[in-house]
């Protein structure tokens, strides 16, 4: 589906070409490429998403004395896939982990700025982190199923949140989650087998099933395919595309093809700065910042 969009976007782009060039030169003059510190508010943003699910404003993240994110403003659109791209160490995973406060587990991490989920500030001291993580699920780079049975892996979340009153309810949740993750047909005969015995791609889909079993509103994916082979990757990408119908998805990826294939909006991070954000078609066909262009054309990163 993405390819047609990109082609469309390419046509649009040629019309916009003149305006963007002007924009670009402005950006270039304001900051030399590769400079470490960017003044806030320089992010190039095109039209915001229709419905905003999560919103980050002036987000700074520090690991001890080192600042990892500089003044990031980013909106996450509801029921669409937002891809975060950028070279290693650019802060995209850091931003992702801010969205469900996973950074809280790191003692030296400090977050400033506002991040809201719906209308709620998720860094409000009154907010319950456990509840937040039930609403904002996460899938990690390396598949990390619990060393328990497939059933137990998925049942764990609903159980700790008390989502199922009876065993039948729980079984239903497990089955639907597996079906949504496209894994049910493959494992229906061996739900008692250990989850760690599955193949890498199956494990990752198991983790996705586990994440959606608690019916979160947002799914965060931290390079979910980096440890998978191309076939497993294709399956997971297909799955992500389907998940868009029910969930808001934020995905961090190193693969620009993947970002182009699965996402509707793309945000490009560089050295802790959100350089550019916009519709995926536009970012890949007509980036406005030179750094974005250099990155997507493979000149660095």
């Amino acid at each position: 589906m993405s390819t047609t969009n990109v082609q469309d976007a390419a046509q649009d782009m040629s019309q916009q070409a003149e305006t963007t060039t002007a924009h670009e030169t402005a950006a270039q003059s304001s900051q030399a490429p590769g400079s470490d510190v960017a003044p806030g508010g320089t992010t190039i943003t095109d039209a915001p998403p229709d419905v905003i699910k999560m919103k980050g404003r002036n987000v700074d993240v520090f690991y001890g004395d080192k600042q990892a994110l500089f003044d990031v403003d980013l909106d996450i659109g509801e029921r669409q896939v937002t891809a975060l791209i950028g070279p290693s160490g650019c802060g995209k995973s850091t931003f992702l982990r801010c969205l469900n406060r996973m950074n809280d587990t790191i003692d030296i991490a400090r977050i400033e700025g506002d991040i809201t989920l719906g209308e709620q500030d998720i860094y409000d001291p009154h907010i319950d982190v456990v509840e937040l993580r039930a609403r904002v699920g996460m899938i990690f780079q390396k598949p990390n199923p619990f060393p328990k049975s497939i059933f137990e892996n998925i049942a764990y979340g609903p159980r700790v949140h008390g989502l199922a009153d009876t065993k039948t309810d729980l079984e239903e949740i497990v089955v639907t989650s597996l079906q949504k993750a496209g894994l049910f047909e493959e494992v229906k005969d061996r739900l008692d087998a250990p989850g760690t015995g599955l193949s890498g791609g199956q494990q990752q889909r198991l983790c996705i099933a586990r994440a959606i079993a608690t019916s979160p509103e947002v799914l965060l994916m931290d390079e979910p395919c980096s440890a998978l082979d191309p076939i497993a990757t294709a399956k997971v990408e297909e799955l992500i595309d389907e998940l868009r119908e029910n969930f808001t998805v934020v995905i961090v990826t190193h693969s620009m093809q993947q970002a182009a294939r699965v996402s509707q909006r793309t945000a490009f991070f560089h050295l802790g700065i959100l350089v550019e954000v916009g519709a995926t078609d536009q970012i890949f066909t007509n980036p406005r910042d030179t750094r974005t262009r250099d990155y997507i054309t493979g000149r660095f990163g």
């Binding site: 587990t105 003692d107 060393p147 764990y156 700790v160 586990r210």
Partner: protein, 615 residues
């Protein structure tokens, strides 16, 4: 110029290998690398073999010493346990309790040896069975009067030395073939036995050899005394020489020294005189061929068995012995060669615990088939005792068990909880760092320090009972805690962070993450650490000595507050006793302790494997 001239042949020599990695120099380097690898391998194997050798040596010594202790000899003696003699009026336990069971044993033994009449000999006889025999009979009568009353015989344990005799550990013995016809001159008292052949010649020669050896020993001793004398005389001379040069203080000191030395010299001279006389005597006896030799207790014993009796020789020549009859002979008739026998007990009577008389009585009991070898139940079922044959490890095993229960129930939950808090919840600041450093230091504190702490705090401040497994367990728990905490923290740290993230990611709370996911995964490591800590505690002696668990306690403890001892302390105490059987039981107890330790370590491995497979 010379360099240029010299270089062509040098470059020309290695014709086939010119590359960086194929030249001769490179080959040489490679060869050196392989050589160093081979050397390293050799040293490694040598180290392993040395360690294995010493381990085998240690184990074989212990096992070799311990094996005799697992068996024990019992003698079946006739006993009068009839209703009439014990409890004629059928009054029951009160009367049965008061019966003189010592007399029952004594009378039973005497009935087997009617010819033993003198007081001294009867005492010798009574010493053959364990002094606990009467207690055992009494216990049996009280436990089960119906079955016991009316019994006419009872198996009682032999005394430890008698037991060792049947295990062949008292002395080497030699039997001499007889060829001549022997005629005794009487059946009782002191008699002579004359042989028609030179049946005693070899024995006499043996005795003479023995005397010769003794003479050699005396000679060596004499030589060392003479050297001492010489040194003392030289010292005196040197003191005398230096005296005029010194001041009055030093001179006085020197005079004192000289006086001391002179007294010593007098003593030495007397000693040397005695030894010289003894040496001359021994030499004369050992070389005087054919003469009668008096057999003192310092010489091997010679026992002659003839006509159903036993004679202990007191003097010997080539064809005859004179000696005391210990078991009366039936007749004075001559016995033809082969029908009578001579036996030499090589170790002199003075150097062994079992005298010739006891030995002969024991032989008679064995000949009557009254002596029986049994598995040593006493060792496994009774508590401590001053009598080697009655001492057992059960009291110590129960004490160790209670101690371990207390240790485990204190150290495991505390240790694991502390580890979880420090590893998963505690903020990383100066305070927790200080705690961490101190826990690591505590693991290296000598165990006796914990014993001192137990003495000062648990006994003196809290007033807890002395010698109790409760206190022992508490002290050992303190000692084991750092081990468990360190092992548990390592195990928790080894759980991959992805598991924590996964659990947190689906919205588990921190505690849920730890309890549901991290702890189960860390459990094998925690259990291994705990069991190793417990094994260490099981083998610990020093801190328990401080809180009085070294006391001599006969009773088997019934609760953790009863006074008791533990296995390693029991071993420590037994190792101090001089009796041979105690030495053997020490080794046996070490084996039991080792068996426990091996079992615990095996358990650690099994638990580890099982838990790991389950996940």
């Amino acid at each position: 110029m010379t360099d240029v001239a010299a270089s062509p042949p040098a470059a020309g020599a290695p014709s086939q290998g010119q590359g960086l990695h194929t030249s001769d120099a490179a080959r040489k380097r490679l060869k050196a690398r392989y050589a160093s690898e081979a050397r390293f391998k050799f040293f490694g194997i040598a180290a392993v073999l040395t360690a294995a050798f010493f381990l085998v040596l240690l184990l074989s010594t212990i096992v070799g010493q311990a094996i005799p202790a697992f068996n024990q000899h019992y003698v079946t003696i006739p006993v009068d346990l009839s209703q009439e003699s014990l409890d004629p009026n059928n009054e029951g336990e009160a009367v049965l309790r008061r019966v003189d069971y010592d007399a029952v044993v004594r009378n039973g033994l005497r009935s087997l040896f009617p010819y033993v009449e003198s007081r001294g000999d009867r005492r010798t006889l009574g010493g053959l069975v364990s002094s606990g025999s009467a207690v055992r009979i009494r216990q049996e009568v009280l436990d089960d009067p119906d079955a016991t009353i009316g019994q006419t015989s009872f198996a009682v344990p032999l005394d430890d030395v008698a037991d060792l005799y049947f295990k062949g550990q008292v002395s080497e013995e030699r039997f001499v073939e007889t060829t001549g016809e022997a005629s005794p001159t009487g059946t009782e008292g002191t008699i002579q036995i004359l042989s028609t052949a030179n049946d005693f010649r070899d024995l006499l020669a043996d005795v003479k050899d023995f005397l010769g050896e003794q003479a050699d020993e005396v000679e060596r001793e004499l030589a060392s005394r003479e050297r001492s004398l010489e040194r003392a005389e030289i010292d005196i001379v040197s003191y005398r020489d230096r005296m005029p040069e010194e001041g009055s203080d030093r001179r006085e000191f020197f005079e004192d020294q000289v006086q001391i030395l002179e007294r010593g010299i007098n003593g030495l001279n007397a000693n040397i005189r005695d030894l010289t006389a003894e040496l001359a005597d021994l030499r004369a006896r050992s070389t005087a061929a054919g003469a009668d030799e008096v057999l003192t207790t310092e010489l091997p014993s010679i026992l002659v068995e003839i006509n159903g009796g036993v004679v202990k020789a007191s003097s010997i020549n080539a064809t005859a012995v004179e000696g005391e009859v210990i078991v009366p002979l039936t007749t004075t008739a001559a016995a033809s060669g082969g029908d009578w026998s001579i036996r030499e007990v090589v170790l002199p009577e003075r150097n062994r615990k079992l005298d010739d008389r006891s030995l002969i009585y024991l032989d008679q009991l064995a000949a009557d088939e009254r002596v029986e070898r049994q598995f040593n139940m006493i060792f496994f079922s009774s508590g401590a005792s001053r009598e080697a044959e009655l001492a057992g490890i059960w009291g110590a095993v129960v004490g160790s068990f209670f101690t371990m229960v207390v240790t485990l129930s204190l150290a495991f939950p505390l240790g694991v909880a502390a580890a979880i808090y420090l590893e998963e919840f505690a903020p990383k600041n100066r305070l927790t760092q200080l705690i961490e450093v101190n826990i690591n230091n505590l693991a290296a504190v000598p165990s006796i320090v914990f014993g001192l702490l137990g003495l000062a705090v648990f006994l003196n401040t809290f007033g807890l009972p002395r010698s109790a497994p409760l206190v022992g367990g508490m002290v050992l728990a303190l000692m084991t805690l750092p081990t468990i905490i360190i092992a548990s923290r390592a195990a928790l740290r080894a759980v991959p962070p992805s598991i924590r993230e996964g659990a947190l990611g689906v919205g588990a709370s921190k505690l849920q993450t730890v309890l549901h996911h991290v702890l189960p995964l860390a459990m094998p490591g925690i259990l291994t650490g705990t069991i190793i800590g417990m094994a260490q505690a099981l083998g610990e002696t020093a801190p328990l000595l401080m809180i009085g668990m070294v006391a001599f306690i006969v009773d088997i403890p019934a609760t953790p507050v009863d006074p008791s001892t533990v296995l390693p302390v029991q071993i420590f105490m037994w190792a101090d006793f001089p009796e041979v059987l105690f030495r053997q039981k020490t080794s046996a107890a070490i084996l039991v302790l080792l068996a426990f330790l091996v079992t615990m370590n095996a358990l650690a491995v099994i638990l580890r494997k099982r838990f790991e497979r389950r996940w």
